[in-house]
Symmetry: C2
Subunit: 295 residues, 2 copies
Amino acid sequence: MTDAKHWIERYRGQVDAWIERDLKRHSGLGERVAEAMRYSASAGGKRLRPLLVLAAGRYLGVAEDRLVLPALAVEYIHTYSLIHDDLPAMDNDDWRRGRPTNHRVFGEAVAILAGDGLLNEAFAKIAELADPAFESHDVLSALRHLARASGMDGLIAGQAGDLAAEHHNIDLQALEAVHARKTGALFQAACQLPAWLMGNQAAAERLERFAWHFGLAFQIVDDILNVVGDAAVMGKSTGTDAHLDKATYPKLVGLERSWVLARYHQGMARQVLGEDVGESDVLLALLDRAVERKA
Amino acid sequence: MTDAKHWIERYRGQVDAWIERDLKRHSGLGERVAEAMRYSASAGGKRLRPLLVLAAGRYLGVAEDRLVLPALAVEYIHTYSLIHDDLPAMDNDDWRRGRPTNHRVFGEAVAILAGDGLLNEAFAKIAELADPAFESHDVLSALRHLARASGMDGLIAGQAGDLAAEHHNIDLQALEAVHARKTGALFQAACQLPAWLMGNQAAAERLERFAWHFGLAFQIVDDILNVVGDAAVMGKSTGTDAHLDKATYPKLVGLERSWVLARYHQGMARQVLGEDVGESDVLLALLDRAVERKA
């Protein structure tokens, strides 16, 4: 195994352990909601967004264990968005990460609250950062950027655009605008968080461009796998996009050209990082993995 | 009109105007969600929580116009919680502030996203505070406290407890624990925000106790009005608690004793502020208004 592969396996396990510790047993009024939060947050998955936080930290020379809270924050935002997206009123999904979706286990009311709770916790995590190496001013700036990425001009706009595009013919540009928000915004925030926390504007811009292409490559492959993927391997239903008549790359340009586009963005992302700046090995390994995955 | 009454009328109008300006026309992908956010946030209402932020600021000598963003933050959290609470899977309410509830106008999917958007915006508002009089360190601390108040141990736990208490016999202590979170936590955060932003721990503690009693008095009157109130005056359905068999003060101790308890907490709140500390006139006027209201 290469160093990068080792790193990824190691920190994927670490992220699981951090989440477990952070959302530990909870008693009292919010017990059932806390259980539902834990159910979805600890369901595994690729942990791609928190790994991007840690890998971008490595690239900038920020030790991984100083980025635990930001890593949790992006994973909580991702998980909250999955719980709410899966609701009957939204995508009405029954399976996620190989298990019944949150609302199927806990009911809709608790699932809504569990999503709310995770979004709330995400911001709490950043606000709890008390690392003397990060200035309060930069922590606030990181929080502001994260809120924009997950808010009504970012993730939420993407989800709204995704719903609005069902049963409509939109063009490639419009589809890219949806994906840029639905997936890209949080990918970008994940990659940029360490740079914002360090107050490093130049690095933040470079990582923003890297994440832009990474996010598109990832989303195109996601669309492709929804058509050709194996539901058992993926742990979630496939064919759902076609069923909901969602706008996707395969629907718009076909499978073959979708692959070409995914490879294009993979190449562009590599190019942004260049050759000899920082420890880019893990960021690149995550990129390749995202394009070559089967699930 | 007394000075306090003038102040309240003036700043209630100001809060409306600030919200209007903050959630102004929005185009692009998130347009429909932004419209839904505006629909609920600009529906008026008492604006009690933002007024508490401003009144607590006045009490501590912090000018009102320096607390615009914190005032918006607590109102957005309140509004998000109303939108989600009104959903069919939760309280299934049709009317709110005299208008059809959000999901009845925009559909459930958009209503869920609008709530998410407002929660997100709330934290963004605090993170956007760039007042040189507030140290970044204190702004972060305020944000951390606010996240606790609205999170899985605060508002969300209260809502979960409220749902869990339907059709169950719970005692007064358990009911108080629900109310302390469902209403009290955000009341406390509203009153304490100016103190946190000033890094004034003593004031934060005093205002916490004031808000504790205020919150209970307010919630007891809310329960009472749900039984005896006039739906037309209140702008929302009445009798809904009994219909849902919710745990309330009137159900537990009867109407007469509920009034006694409301008056008791009103008196305790007055006592916390004492006589001659700061400009407590508006805080006290808001308290009296909350107990004597008809809606």
